[in-house]
């Protein structure tokens, strides 16, 4: 547990009351098998999967419901056995209350698995084979980003990963599911670390945990000691929000900064959440796809706060019910933590892979009216991205989207620190989200109009070309006609009478005659025979 490693600091950050103890007092409870499971087809960043089932099908626990549709995509699996009763657009947990394609399973209570194929000796498999297993298990980043893990651990042939960081910081107040996971499944966490380390061939692996989780630190250290692992280290880091942010955590452990336009792999680092590590362990060593996760159900609005082992697709209302139900003053339901989580309108929503915490707050405090910005700079002092939040606010509120990008709006991680310290109580993060959305929309419109412009340019070019071709044709026709007339005239001169009825024949004859005449004329009447040819070549020159 000794921590001899030198640590660095990221700029700013906040010391926040952790409020974690209320949900770590009782052991992890296994949520009851629900009667209905609602499984959204898309629970990851990337493209939605392709449905593999239809209404009426019977499915087993772990059976694929939707297959990954492209490289950046992930499958979803049946969390329990039962019958598919509905496939429809249903409400999913989303800040704006969106609906999305979901599969509804009526469980049969048997919870019967598909045939699992655990891999007993993963080190006999190639990293590519293991990546394939991770992909098929539908594993996504469980820290909240839900980016497909198989893509993230495929760092490509050029990026060499020196340090694998396993993120157990869990810096947001109230959330404790990672803490409980590390305490209770320390062996699985370490196994997952070893597997990911093997897959990305990282030289060493650092498990970063905030110093407010001594039990978790001890549990992991014990396994490391027992297995005598030399390349995996538990690092105790100071509790500062948002130290669990990927870029902030990398800075704290390595002093390196991920380039603004780059990825951690650019500086030889890969970060995975502890929950993801356990999911990788389960997928490879047990053959189980990702169908459940730990969820913290907490807040003063819940009577018995706790952590629960929950099947994906379980209704949130059931979890609250099993946690003693709501306090009579419960007023706000938040998915995620109090700093970055978003509020939900209803609890009749399924738990998804991204759902790490359900936080219920009592009587929503009346937020005082925002005062004007007094430019005190408190926001800049706490900004972990080293931005000038008040300038961003200023330009975002005046819709100056060029300047707001000059002030690096897109480096903002929306951690909410600036918002929290603002004496004028300005909802700063809301302004940044607004500006980002506006810029994305403008970008989309720009791409659209670019397409339109390109299409228009092409059309114009085509029209010009066609016109040119038409003109050319016309010119040639005229030329031909002129020649014909000339030839006829010549023939008239020679024969003294008009040519025979067939004009084609006459033309050919005329041409033949002309050639003959030309040959003859070359010797005798040079001037006469040369004039038509010369004329036509002049015409050509002027046209060109």
């Amino acid at each position: 547990m000794s921590n001899s490693r030198h640590l660095w600091h990221f700029h700013g950050g906040l010391k926040l009351p952790s409020n974690k103890a209320i949900s770590t007092a009782s052991p992890v409870a296994k949520a009851l098998l629900p009667k209905r499971l609602i499984v959204p087809v898309q629970q990851h960043i990337g493209e939605a999967g392709q449905l593999q089932v239809k209404v009426g099908d019977s499915v087993l626990k772990g059976q694929v419901l939707a297959q990954a549709s492209s490289y950046v995509s992930a499958p979803v699996h049946a969390p329990s056995s039962g019958k598919i009763v509905e496939i429809d657009e249903l409400p999913v947990p989303h800040p704006s209350g969106l609906k999305a394609l979901s599969v509804v399973i009526e469980t049969d209570g048997e919870d019967k698995w598909i045939e699992l194929t655990p891999i007993l000796h993963p080190n006999t498999k190639s990293p590519a084979e293991l990546r394939q297993i991770i992909r098929q298990a539908g594993i996504v980043g469980l820290g909240g980003a839900t980016f497909p893990t198989a893509v993230k651990v495929n760092t490509g042939p050029h990026a060499e990963i020196d340090t694998l960081i396993i993120n157990g910081a869990e810096c947001e107040p109230s959330i404790s599911c990672d803490d409980m996971l590390m305490r209770n499944y320390a062996r699985d966490v370490i196994s997952g670390c070893e597997l990911i380390q093997y897959i990305v061939s990282a030289r060493h692996c650092l498990i970063a945990i905030e110093d407010n989780k001594p039990e978790a630190i001890a549990a992991l250290q014990e396994i490391i000691n027992e297995k005598a692992l030399h390349t995996i280290e538990v690092i105790t880091i100071p509790t500062v929000y948002p130290t669990g942010g990927e870029k902030q955590l990398i800075k704290v452990l390595t002093q390196k900064e991920v380039p603004s336009d780059g990825f951690p792999s650019d500086i030889g680092v890969l970060v995975q959440n502890v929950g993801t590590a356990v999911a990788v362990h389960k997928a490879i060593c047990l053959g189980e796809p990702l169908i459940s996760r730990l969820v913290t159900v907490t807040g003063e609005g819940v009577l018995q706060p706790q952590n629960m082992d929950v099947l994906i697709g379980t209704s949130m209302s059931e979890l609250i019910e099993q946690s003693g139900g709501y306090h009579k003053d419960a007023a706000k339901l938040i998915m995620g933590g109090p700093m970055m989580g978003f509020t939900l309108q209803t609890d009749h929503l399924p738990v998804t892979k991204a759902c790490n915490c359900l936080l219920v707050e009592n009587t929503a405090e009346k937020t005082p009216e925002a005062m004007p910005c007094i430019r005190c700079g408190a926001c800049a002092t706490v900004c972990p991205a080293q931005l000038l939040p008040q300038q961003l606010y200023w330009h975002a509120s005046s819709k100056n989207f060029d300047l707001v990008q000059d002030y690096h709006l897109f480096d903002c991680i929306e951690c909410g620190c600036c918002n929290h310290v603002c004496p004028s109580q300005i909802p700063l993060v809301q302004y940044y989200r607004f500006a980002k959305t506006e810029i994305w929309n403008m970008e989309r419109d720009r791409i659209k109009s670019d397409h339109a412009r390109i299409r228009h340019d092409f059309r114009q070019e085509r029209l010009d070309r066609e016109k040119k071709e038409r003109d050319e044709k016309l010119r040639k026709k005229k030329e031909l006609l002129a020649k014909k007339k000339q030839a006829e005239a010549a023939a008239k001169e020679k024969d003294g009478a008009p040519a025979e009825v067939d004009p084609k024949k006459a033309a050919i004859e005329a041409a033949m005659k002309r050639v003959k005449d030309k040959k003859a004329a070359l010797k005798t009447e040079k001037d006469d025979a040369a004039s038509p040819t010369k004329k036509s070549s002049d015409e050509k020159n002027t046209q060109e």
Binding site: H11, K247, K251, E257, S260, G262, S317, Y326, A330, A331, K332, L333, I334, G336, P338, M339, M340, F342, T343, Q345, T346, D347, E361, A364, E365, P368, E369, M371, P372, C373, I374, R375, C376, G377, A378, A380, P384, A385, Q386, L387, L388, Q390, Q391, D402, D406, Y407, H408, D411, E414, G416, N419, H420, V421, C422, P423, S424, Q425, V429, Q430, R433
Partner: protein
């Protein structure tokens, strides 16, 4: 169950503009008490008068601008402007001087620019500049600090002087007012006296304390102490006063070393006039100051430099108000060119072309 929605973060926070302003006001109390003790009741009368005027003007402007009264009238900003201006005015300034200065500060310098948070210039200093340019004679009615030959007026005598312009029978204006130490040094240096000659002068010598002007050194010391407290508490940014004091120290040291007979010593600079009030309470007004870390250093230092220049070569005895307003003008530019390196960026990435674009337009 249905719930209300809101944007993150969801943790309630308790910092407010009001609490910032009132903390700064509270921190001004010790220095103000010292001023009352040395300069008499006029200090207090000025503060009360300026506060009443400021709040009335604030209310009037809020009504005219159709803004809610409650959050703005009691946010403390108008009171702070009033207090700062009142402390900068002569103790026996006629009531209409205080009224004009304060009203101009609140109505023109603050509200015509958009009110709290939008004024580019420090309102108190704008008010001060208006009265010192318009009424130079009245602005010299400084009370000498508790000297042997001078007696402080009683409270009622003070009121009569300020509101009625009636001097007590036994005194003439010369008996109750005199030039400030800074003013005296400037005048006497102009008369070819050396610093040490002025300090030991039979008439003016008693104006000087051990390090600054007599009385002034106490006032400045107390403003320094409470200012430091505000810095430690993070209520004001320490870089602005640090930059200001550092610049003043460097310049005054350089010139005093060059010619100690004709340039006032550094300690006298720091502990005379309103330096500490300016450094910790006036220059730190966040609305009109630079906001970046480096920008604040430069902003403070710029004020220090201008104060030294105006005190030494300018025609006004103390140049704080002018120095502050000059640097207020520079604040947006300082912010622009001292933008911090954002996380994951290299230095000098900031595209300066937008500035150029505007010039071209």
């Amino acid at each position: 169950m249905q719930f209300k929605t809101a944007s993150s973060p969801h943790i309630a926070q308790h910092n407010s503009v009001q609490s910032v302003m009132y903390k700064v006001l509270l921190a001004m109390i010790p220095g103000t008490i010292a001023m009352v003790m040395f300069f008499g009741w006029g200090v207090l009368v000025n503060i009360i008068l300026a506060s009443v005027v400021a709040l009335s003007c604030e209310a009037l402007m809020l009504l005219l601008r159709k803004r809610p009264l409650k959050p703005y009238l009691f946010d403390g900003s108008a009171l702070l402007t009033a207090a700062l201006l009142a402390l900068a005015l002569p103790q026996l300034a006629p009531w209409w001087l205080t009224l004009i200065g304060t009203a101009f500060a609140i109505i023109v310098a603050k509200h015509l620019y958009g009110g709290l948070g939008f004024n580019p210039f420090n309102p108190a200093m704008v008010g001060y500049v208006v009265v010192i340019i318009s009424f130079p004679r009245e602005m010299t009615q400084w009370v000498p600090p508790l000297l042997e030959d001078y007696t402080l007026l009683t409270f009622s005598e003070t009121l009569r002087v300020i509101f009625l312009g009636e001097l007590p029978l036994t005194y003439g204006w010369d008996a109750i007012t005199m030039a400030t130490p800074l003013d005296t040094v400037k005048t006497q240096l102009g008369l070819e006296l050396s610093i040490s000659e002025i300090e030991n002068h039979k008439e003016y010598g008693s104006m000087f304390g051990s390090i600054g002007g007599f009385g002034w050194e106490w006032v400045n010391g107390l403003f320094l102490a409470s200012g430091l407290y505000l810095c430690i508490k993070g209520i004001i940014d320490w870089r602005i006063p640090a930059g200001l004091i550092a610049a003043l120290l460097v310049l005054s040291n350089l010139f005093a070393l060059y010619d100690y007979a004709s340039f006032t010593p550094p300690t006298f600079h720091l502990f005379s006039g309103g330096i500490m009030l300016a450094a910790f309470f006036i220059a730190t007004d966040p609305v009109t100051a630079a906001t970046t870390t480096k920008g604040r250093w430069l902003y403070g230092a710029g004020i220090g430099v201008f104060i030294y220049i105006i005190r030494t070569w300018g025609s006004y005895p103390d140049g704080i108000a002018f120095a502050v307003i000059l640097m207020n003008m520079a604040a947006p530019l300082l912010d622009y060119y001292t933008m911090p390196r954002a996380f994951g960026h290299r230095w000098n990435e900031f595209p300066h072309h937008h500035m150029g674009d505007k010039d071209e337009e």
